[in-house]
C-alpha cells in the first residue's frame, strides 16, 4: 500500500496522530501537497461520506474522521498555500436566526472541508443581514442554511429574499437542510439544493462545482 492509501485509512479510522505523522512523512518524501490533499484527505472523507450514506458510519465515526482530516489539513495548509493550491470552492454556512442547534451544521462544515471546500462558519442564530454581509465579504460559491425546527424554517425564505433584495441571488447558490426541511421546500422558497445530511451536502456541493 502507498503512503496515501495508508493516510486514507488513518483518516477513515479517525486516528489523528497517525494521520498527522503520515502527512509529515508524505511531505518529507516530496509527495506533492495537492496529491496528499486529493488522494489522501479528500479521498478518505469521500469514503467516510459513502459509509455514512450506507449506514456503516454514524455521527461519532464521522466526527473522529473529520478531526483526523482537520489535523492533517492543518499540517498541509502552509504547503498548499505555498504551492498556490486553491480550495475547490468557498461555502458560507450557518444555522438560521432563531435556531441555536448547530451539530448538523457543524457536520456539514466538516464534510465540506473534507471535500476540499473553504468553509466560513457564521455559527448559529444567523440573521439574513449577516448572511448578506458574508456573501458580500467572502463571495462564496454556495451558502448553506440549517434549521432544526419548523418554527425557524421560514427564516430560510427570508434569507433568499434578502439575497434577492441585495441583488446577490444570482451570484451564489443556496443549499438548505435540517430535520423538517424537504426537497419540496427548496422549490417553495426559491433555494437551489437540498441536502438530507452532511454527506450528501458535501456530495451535492461538489457536483455543483463540476457543473
Amino acid at each position: 500500500m502507498s503512503i496515501l492509501d495508508d493516510l486514507c485509512m488513518t483518516v477513515i479510522n479517525g486516528d489523528l496522530n497517525a494521520t498527522q505523522n503520515l502527512v509529515q512523512t508524505a511531505l518529507s518524501e516530496n509527495v506533492p501537497p495537492e496529491k496528499i490533499l486529493t488522494d489522501g484527505l479528500i479521498a478518505a472523507m469521500t469514503e467516510v461520506g459513502r459509509m455514512f450514506e450506507n449506514g456503516e458510519f454514524y455521527v461519532p465515526e464521522m466526527l473522529i474522521s473529520a478531526r483526523a482530516m482537520k489535523g492533517g489539513l492543518a499540517i498541509l495548509r502552509p504547503q498548499l498555500a505555498a504551492a498556490n493550491i486553491q480550495a475547490i470552492g468557498k461555502v458560507v454556512i450557518g444555522t438560521v436566526q432563531g435556531d441555536l442547534h448547530d451539530i448538523g451544521k457543524n457536520l456539514v462544515g466538516m464534510m465540506l472541508e473534507g471535500a476540499g471546500f473553504e468553509v466560513i462558519d457564521l455559527g448559529s442564530d444567523v440573521s439574513s443581514e449577516k448572511y448578506v454581509a458574508a456573501v458580500k465579504e467572502h463571495t462564496p460559491d454556495l451558502i448553506g442554511l440549517s434549521a432544526l425546527l419548523t418554527t425557524t424554517m421560514p427564516r430560510m425564505k427570508d434569507i433568499v429574499l434578502a439575497l434577492r433584495a441585495a441583488d446577490l441571488r444570482d451570484k451564489v447558490k443556496v443549499m438548505i437542510g435540517g430535520a423538517p426541511v424537504t426537497e419540496q421546500y427548496v422549490a417553495d422558497i426559491g433555494a437551489d439544493i437540498y441536502a438530507q445530511d452532511a454527506a450528501s451536502a458535501a456530495q451535492r456541493a461538489r457536483q455543483l462545482m463540476q457543473e
Partner: protein, 338 residues
C-alpha cells in the same frame, strides 16, 4: 371506566372503549389556547389521560439575562427556546467525573407535589417523569460532540458517566415508586431524522445495558416503562421490548411508518404520539389535521395506542389546527358514553 383504567386497558393490549389521549404544548402554543379558552382552565378543557408527576426537564435557578442553571450545574440559554433552552458552556470539559458531584436525586421538589396532584387528578394514569434520562443527560454535561467522540476516545469514561446517571435515576425512581404511580416515563432522544445519532452498534454497547438496569427496577415494582425518544429509532424497538419497554413516544410519522409499526408491535408495545408536528400541524389545513387524527383514532381503536401529536405543540401551529384534533378526540363516541 376511569381514564386511568382506559390507559391500563390499552397498555395491556385489550380493546379500550375509546382511544385515550395526552398531549402538551410549548409556552407559545399554550398561550394561544389559554386565550381561546379563558376563563376556563386549559388543563381541565384538555381532559388529558396521563398525569405527569416529577419533572421532565428538572428544576432551574434563574441566572438572569435569559439564562438558567439546572440541578446538574448545566447552564441553559433561553433567549430563543423559552421552554427548554440550549446548553451554554460545558460542565465536564475533560472526560472525567473526578471533580464533579451529582445533585441530590431525592431533592424534595421532584416529589412534593405528587400527593396533591394525585388527589386532584386521581382518575388519570400517573407517570413519574425522568427527563434527559441517560444519553441526553450525558451530553448536556459533556457537550454533544465531545460525548460522541468520547465513545471512541474515552469509552471507560462514557460507561462510568452513564452508570452514574443511572444510579442517580434509580435512586429517584425508588423514591417515586413509594407513591401510587403507574409508570416511569423516561425521556432520552437518540435519533436523527434518519437513524440513531450514535448508530446501533454504539447504542447496544453503551446505552442498552444501562437501560436494561433502569427498566428492571421499574418492572420489579410491577409498573410500566414509557420512553420518549425523538427521531428514527424504530430499529431498536425489539431490543427495548425485550428489556421491558411498554410504551413508546413520540411515534413521529415523518421518520417511521406509523401504521406498519402499530401492526408489527401490536400487543407488545403501545405507541403514544403519531400526529405530525413537522408537517401536518404547522403547515396543513384544518381538514388535513382532521383526516390524520381520524386515521390515527381508527388505527388505535383496537388498543395499543394513546393519541397525541408527536411533540409538544410548537407556537407555529395555528389555533384552528389545535382545536381540530382536540374536538375530534373528545367527540369519540366511546368517550362521550363513558
Amino acid at each position: 371506566m376511569t381514564k386511568r383504567e382506559v390507559v391500563h386497558t390499552v397498555l395491556e393490549g385489550r380493546t379500550p372503549p375509546y382511544v385515550p389521549w395526552s398531549y402538551g404544548f410549548t409556552k407559545e402554543a399554550g398561550a394561544k389556547l389559554e386565550e381561546h379558552f379563558k376563563p376556563l382552565d386549559v388543563e381541565e378543557v384538555l381532559q388529558n389521560h396521563i398525569l405527569k408527576l416529577g419533572s421532565d426537564i428538572g428544576f432551574f435557578t434563574d441566572l438572569g439575562d435569559n439564562h438558567v442553571q439546572d440541578v446538574f450545574g448545566v447552564v441553559w440559554d433561553r433567549s430563543i427556546d423559552k421552554d427548554i433552552g440550549n446548553v451554554a458552556g460545558c460542565v465536564l470539559p475533560e472526560p472525567t467525573l473526578q471533580h464533579y458531584s451529582f445533585p441530590d436525586p431525592l431533592d424534595r421538589r421532584f416529589f412534593s407535589e405528587i400527593p396533591t396532584r394525585i388527589a386532584r387528578y386521581g382518575d388519570c394514569f400517573r407517570v413519574f417523569q425522568i427527563g434527559f434520562s441517560l444519553y441526553e443527560r450525558a451530553w448536556t454535561l459533556r457537550g454533544m460532540q465531545n460525548l460522541l467522540m468520547d465513545f471512541y476516545d474515552h469509552p471507560d469514561f462514557v460507561h462510568t458517566l452513564l452508570e452514574s446517571i443511572a444510579d442517580y435515576n434509580i435512586t429517584q425512581i425508588r423514591e417515586a415508586l413509594k407513591y401510587e404511580i403507574d409508570a416511569i416515563y423516561f425521556g432520552d432522544d437518540w435519533g436523527q431524522q434518519r437513524g440513531l445519532q450514535m448508530g446501533p452498534r454504539l447504542w447496544h454497547q453503551f446505552i442498552y445495558p444501562v437501560l436494561k438496569r433502569m427498566y428492571a427496577v421499574v418492572h420489579a415494582a410491577g409498573k410500566y416503562v414509557f420512553i420518549h425518544s425523538c427521531g428514527d429509532v424504530d430499529e431498536v424497538f425489539e431490543d427495548l421490548i425485550g428489556i421491558g419497554l411498554n410504551c413508546f413516544n413520540p411515534f413521529q410519522p415523518e421518520v417511521m411508518e406509523v401504521e406498519a409499526c402499530m401492526e408489527r408491535y401490536r400487543g407488545r408495545l403501545t405507541f403514544h404520539g403519531g400526529l405530525s408536528t413537522q408537517r401536518t400541524l404547522p403547515f396543513g389545513t384544518v381538514e388535513d389535521v382532521r383526516m390524520e387524527t381520524k386515521r390515527l383514532l381508527n388505527m388505535g381503536a383496537r388498543g395499543g395506542y394513546i393519541f397525541s401529536p408527536a411533540h409538544d405543540i410548537e407556537g407555529d401551529v395555528p389555533l384552528e389546527n389545535m382545536l381540530a384534533f382536540i374536538e375530534l378526540v373528545q367527540n369519540q363516541p366511546g368517550y362521550q358514553d363513558n
